[in-house]
């Protein structure tokens, strides 16, 4: 707000004609007059004794400010400066001041000749003559548009800031609500560890995870104390060197105040200093005791299931064997059946999910491994005296194809044992796999040393061939052929790799 000016009284009178129009200042040497004329501050003088308080003097600065020529404005009331953007209340105040002969200092929106608007800091004062009567008004104008615009902008900016601030606070509040809900629902504790000071801030759920009340003091030493003695050193180390693996994550056993054992998982983001050194850990904690227990139970169940499947094969084998005891004629068939079942059982053990089988067994996903598994009973595959040698390109074999392949290999091996290389001293079987475009060929070559008499029996023209045909052609959509070489029987199989991988 501009200050109220003191009343101005020119040292030399202004000269006016008889009808009141301004004639000039008293003498051009009058320093005051010269000052008023020359100043860059727009100044005007009005004569309230004339009708409508007209302008009797305007300086050049005024004309520059308002855009009017002197001739245009002299004799007029300066309300021409007002316009649609002028605040009526302000205008009234100015009018009142004039009416009552009072000084006024006020900012008013005025219009230039070209219509443009500016903020005018008007400082008007009455001038009295020697008798004390009102003789003139003298006023200065000042374009304060920039100042007031800036003020307006500042206020608007403040308002915006206030709104933005409120909005962000709300957003943060909402976010915190969601976090509380999520962690609450998930029973996640929140924690914050200052690595420099060792100070630990922990939520109530965090304390609950540890079986403590929210009112109890809970710092890092208390936490470490709660850790099971088996895990304590590991946990202490982890907090000492938190960024060994990037993110901070650790699981450990705790002993609750009631001596119950629990499992806690703590995870955190690492806040670092400018030098990269870890300063703070901010994270969540979770009681994973239930989950671990459930996992363990699931594991146990799966292992039990796998064992029962294995057992089933043993039981079926037993039933067949027993049944055959009673019927001598059925014995050869029963034996053949049991051999095939045996091969299937071995293959089955290897298509159970990896987490189910014991640590010593691995699920083979490739033909080479499956062949090893299936042929192991027919001779130690790794010793120098091995009788079965498997080599060549490896291809993936899926679960569906595993069963069929088990039957096929079983058949070939049994025949080799009964009539072929595996039944002759010194005889060997070489199995070679070769990729051929989209296909893979499996060559089963039997070698019987020349010194031994070879029984050129056609292996199982009956049931064996039917089974082979079924498994190779109908199940795996492959092809097979047989030939007698100089050293023994050779069976050739061909499959599409895609089919085997199913």
């Amino acid at each position: 707000m501009p200050q109220r000016p003191s009343v101005l009284a020119p040292p030399a009178p202004l000269t006016f004609d008889r009808d009141g129009t301004f004639a000039g200042f008293g003498g051009d040497s009058d320093p005051f007059a010269a000052a008023v004329r020359a100043t860059g501050t727009p100044m005007i003088i009005t004569n309230p004794r004339l009708a409508d308080n007209p302008l009797v003097f305007v300086n050049d600065a005024f004309c520059e400010l308002t855009g009017y020529d002197r001739e245009e404005v002299i004799g007029r009331n300066c309300r021409f400066l007002q316009g649609p953007q002028s605040d009526p209340a302000v205008v009234d105040a100015i009018r009142a001041a004039v009416k009552w002969g009072r000084a006024i200092a006020i900012d008013v929106r005025n219009h230039r000749k070209d219509g443009s608007v500016f903020w005018n800091r008007l400082q008007m004062a009455p001038v009295h003559d020697a008798a004390g009567d009102l003789s003139y008004f003298i006023a200065s104008q000042f374009d304060v548009t920039a100042e007031l615009q800036r003020l307006e902008d500042l206020e608007r900016h403040n308002a915006d800031l206030a709104t933005e601030s409120a909005r962000r606070l709300q957003a943060q509040h909402d976010s915190e609500q969601r976090l509380r809900f999520a962690t609450g629902a998930g029973r996640m504790g929140l924690w914050d560890l200052d690595l420099i000071s060792g100070e630990l801030t922990a939520s109530s759920v965090f304390r609950e995870n540890f079986g403590r009340l929210s009112s109890e003091a809970f710092d890092l030493p208390v936490l470490l104390d709660a850790v099971h003695v088996d895990d304590r050193r590991r946990v202490r180390e982890a907090f000492k060197n938190p960024d060994v693996d990037g993110d901070f994550a650790i699981e450990f056993q705790i002993v609750r105040p009631d001596a119950a054992i629990g499992f806690i998982q703590m995870r955190a983001d690492i806040t670092r200093g400018v030098d990269g050194a870890p300063l703070r850990l901010v994270g969540v904690s979770m009681d994973i005791s239930e989950r671990l227990k459930a996992n363990e139970e699931k594991s146990l169940l799966l292992r039990e299931l796998a064992h029962r499947i294995k057992n089933m094969f043993a039981v079926v084998d037993g039933v067949i064997s027993l049944s055959a005891r009673a019927d001598a004629a059925a014995r050869p068939f029963a034996d053949a059946l049991r051999t095939r079942l045996f091969g299937l059982g071995r293959a089955m053990a290897y298509v159970t999910p990896p987490e189910v089988v014991g640590s010593s067994e691995i699920a083979p996903q490739t033909l080479l491994v499956l062949l090893h598994v299936l042929l192991e009973p027919y001779g130690d595959l790794d010793s120098v005296h091995r009788r079965v040698i498997v080599s060549g390109d490896d291809v993936r074999i899926g679960r569906a194809a595993t069963t069929s392949m088990a039957l096929i290999i079983n058949e070939l091996a049994t025949n080799a044992l009964k009539y072929g290389a595996l039944g002759h001293a010194g005889g060997t079987v070489r199995i070679e796999m070769t990729k051929d475009g989209d296909d893979v060929t499996v060559a089963w070559r039997e070698h019987i040393p020349r010194t031994t008499a070879i029984t050129e029996a056609v292996p199982g023209g009956g049931f064996g061939s039917i089974l082979l045909e079924n498994a190779v052609v109908r199940q795996l959509r492959g092809q097979w052929s047989r030939e007698w070489t100089a050293t023994g029987l050779q069976t050739n199989l061909r499959f599409s790799q895609a089919r085997l991988a199913r």
């Binding site: 064992h307 294995k310 057992n311 094969f313 043993a314 039981v315 084998d317 037993g318 039933v319 064997s321 027993l322 005891r325 051999t339 045996f342 059982g345 071995r346 014991g358 640590s359 010593s360 009973p377 027919y378 044992l417």
Partner: protein
């Protein structure tokens, strides 16, 4: 192809009768004399009554006395007893196996069992 062995007597122990009888039949066909027991307790009483038993073929996972315990007990009575253990579960560690003991994992092929018995009897 059964070889006639000089009538070695094997004590076959398994709590699952079907499995046990299959093993017993297989070994009988190979020429051995077989005695079958349901569990460790029965096995020990057969042992006392039949001094000619020279080989023990027992399952490991049995309720009550397991195969390890049975083997250990028999060895205290008959230090030179040949011991062959079998199981469908994990392979036993070296520490778990009795001295000079053999192990065959289930399921096994009959010829594998016969070969192992021949090896153990030797």
């Amino acid at each position: 192809m059964a070889k006639l062995v000089n009538r070695t007597t094997i004590l076959v122990v398994d709590d699952e009768p079907l499995i046990r009888s299959v093993a017993a039949d297989c070994l009988r066909d190979a020429g051995y004399l077989i005695l079958e027991a349901d569990d460790g307790v029965e096995a020990l009483s057969f042992l006392d009554q039949n001094p000619e038993i020279s080989m023990l073929f027992t399952d490991i996972n049995m309720p009550g006395m397991d195969g390890f315990a049975l083997a250990a007990e028999i060895r205290t009575r008959r230090p030179l007893m040949r011991v062959i253990l079998t199981s469908g579960r994990e392979r036993p560690t070296a520490e778990q196996m009795p001295d000079r003991g053999y192990f065959i994992g289930k399921p096994y092929a009959e010829h594998q069992l016969r070969d192992l018995m021949a090896l153990a009897a030797a």
